[in-house]
Amino acid sequence: MKAIIIDDEPLARSIVKEYLTAYPQIEIIRECNDGFEGIKAIQQHEPDLIFLDIQMPKINGFEMLELIEEPPAVIFTTAYDEYAIKAFESHAVDYLLKPFSRERFDKAIQNWLDQHSSGNSKTNTQELLETVAQSPAQHQRVVVKIAGKIKIIPVEEINFLEAADDYVKIHTKEGSFLKNKTMAYFDQVLDTQIFVRTHRSYILNVQQITRIDPYEKDNHIAILKSGGKVPVSKTGYARLKTVLGM
């Protein structure tokens, strides 16, 4: 079985390696310094298990997972992150709190091995990520992948979001990017004082509005600083009015 360790500290990786020597059936095929390396290594090697640190530079562990289509089983390792721990517990995901003992490590591996042999080893990553996304620290930016490169978009640079089948199209001044999430997800996660669901298929950054014009009956259209136009439905207009204090 193949495993990858993703952690920004060499010593933290070395302790996982040391504990893993007791399991000759698990082979460490790569060690990665950060999430960028992690994504590449996972795509290249398709491991059965990854050990993933959360607090890392560039992109954190959760953001890395978001960018992987079918993430492998994960054992999280973290020093201190109240919110993440709550999320792990509510989704029964295994995690190791640094520093962890050999006994605790063995237990985590044993759990995984049991699940693996029963053919049920994929963690329900999607649900976990949705919970984690509600932590305040995750609201600041959105990570997307474009042509194999990773792009980090600070939320204040988002002009508006548009539903596009199974994806959401994120419009910024540098162009638009696709993210495999739902509108409901962004509606819940983004700051409601800045981002308003103006329409079933649109979420709008109110700081980008220059004016709002009437458009057909009961509907409006918002004109943005970028020149873009975003439809505003009747209920969307009511929401917009509360946020803008009109």
Partner: protein, 346 residues
């Protein structure tokens, strides 16, 4: 409870002075009508003593009973009632002691209207001044309570921010020690020593609002030694400071998250040896600290909000100085530069 205005010495002098002048004016007016000094003085003293008493009463009354807006009519009734009582009392007293002065008695019986008017005006003025006084006093107390509450909340938040910097670093260091114990026990022991010294220093500092730059840099040095073990990279650090900065003050543990940020991002973007430069200078009564680290423009992105402490540094500075411009970051070629300014003379 609010202080009554006449409990303040300055107002007591003004109050007494006013009544002396007013009584004198009363005497002069009476003498102008042709009465002797004795009669005029007696009339003035009897009437004005009672008015003074009524005004003093009014100034204290509103301390216990301050009518709300819709009850302002009550003030009018109180003033009318008091004026009426005073005029009646004057009539009783003055007719009794002046019974041998028929000329005066006939003057007295014609002057009730004007006396009532004067009494009402004086008492009314006093009532308005008192209400103004007590309303202001009450507002000031509310304001005081509000600022007290805000100050407490601010202190609590600052305390939390000071503490927040610890757990992440602490647990990661312990994890490194745990790894070292197996492979390099001597190194592990050394790191435990360094970590203990660092913690001792920071526990002591947690109580303080301000610390000298010299002390802060000393514990930063300890911190850097630990980081060098944690990351195992070829990390080099230079600290430069102007001699005058040694005694300058800054909030304790402010630099640690900035340096941690610099180390993490510096280390990740290059595989070469990483040099972190920290320099302290004194500028226009500000202590200016600049932290530089190398970075790769190719993989750069906005760094605010990456969860590595810069936000909490900004928040701390805002709470302490109510300014948002004290922490700045910029890039220069392949250097990332963080600048903190700390106002002195606090």
């Amino acid at each position: 409870m609010a202080r009554p205005p006449l409990s303040i010495a300055k107002f007591r002098y003004v109050f007494s002075g006013w009544w002396l002048v007013w009584a004198g004016f009363h005497i002069i007016l009476m003498m102008y009508f042709g009465f002797s000094l004795q009669v005029a003085a007696l009339d003035s003293v009897v009437m004005n003593l009672q008015l003074l008493g009524a005004c003093w009463l009014i100034s204290n009354l509103f301390r216990y009973y301050l009518p709300q807006k819709e009850r302002y009519w009550n003030i009018l009734f109180i003033c009318l009632g008091l004026s009426g009582l005073i005029v009646l009392a004057c009539k009783g007293i003055l007719t009794a002691i002046m019974e041998n002065e028929p000329l005066y008695l006939s003057f007295l019986s014609k002057s009730w209207g004007i006396r009532f008017g004067v009494a009402f005006l004086l008492i009314g003025c006093m009532a308005i001044l008192s209400i103004l006084w007590y309303t202001l006093e009450e507002e000031q107390q509310n304001l005081q309570r509000k600022t007290d509450a805000e100050r407490l909340a601010k202190e609590a938040e600052l305390f939390k921010l000071r503490q927040q910097l610890q757990p992440h670093f602490l647990f990661n260091s312990l994890n490194s020690i745990s790894a070292l114990v197996g492979s390099q026990p001597e190194q592990a022991r050394k790191m435990i020593q360094q970590l203990s010294d660092f913690l001792r220093g920071s526990i002591k500092k947690e109580e303080q609002q301000w610390t000298k730059l010299e002390d802060e840099l000393q514990s930063l040095q300890l911190y850097l030694e630990i980081e060098k073990v944690r990351f195992g990279y070829r990390l080099t650090t230079t600290i430069e400071k102007e001699e005058v900065c040694n005694e300058m003050k800054l909030p304790p543990m402010l630099l640690q998250p900035i340096v941690e940020n610099a180390i993490k991002f510096g280390l990740y973007d290059t595989t070469e040896a990483v040099a972190i430069r920290i320099s302290a200078t004194s500028q226009n009564n500000h202590l200016q600290i600049v932290v530089q680290n190398p970075f790769d423009k190719e993989t750069s992105y906005p760094r605010q909000g990456t969860g590595f402490g810069l936000n909490s540094v900004k928040r701390r500075l805002y709470l302490l100085f109510a300014r948002n411009d004290l922490l700045e970051t910029r890039t220069d070629e392949n250097l990332f530069i963080t600048t903190v300014k700390i106002p002195q003379s606090i």
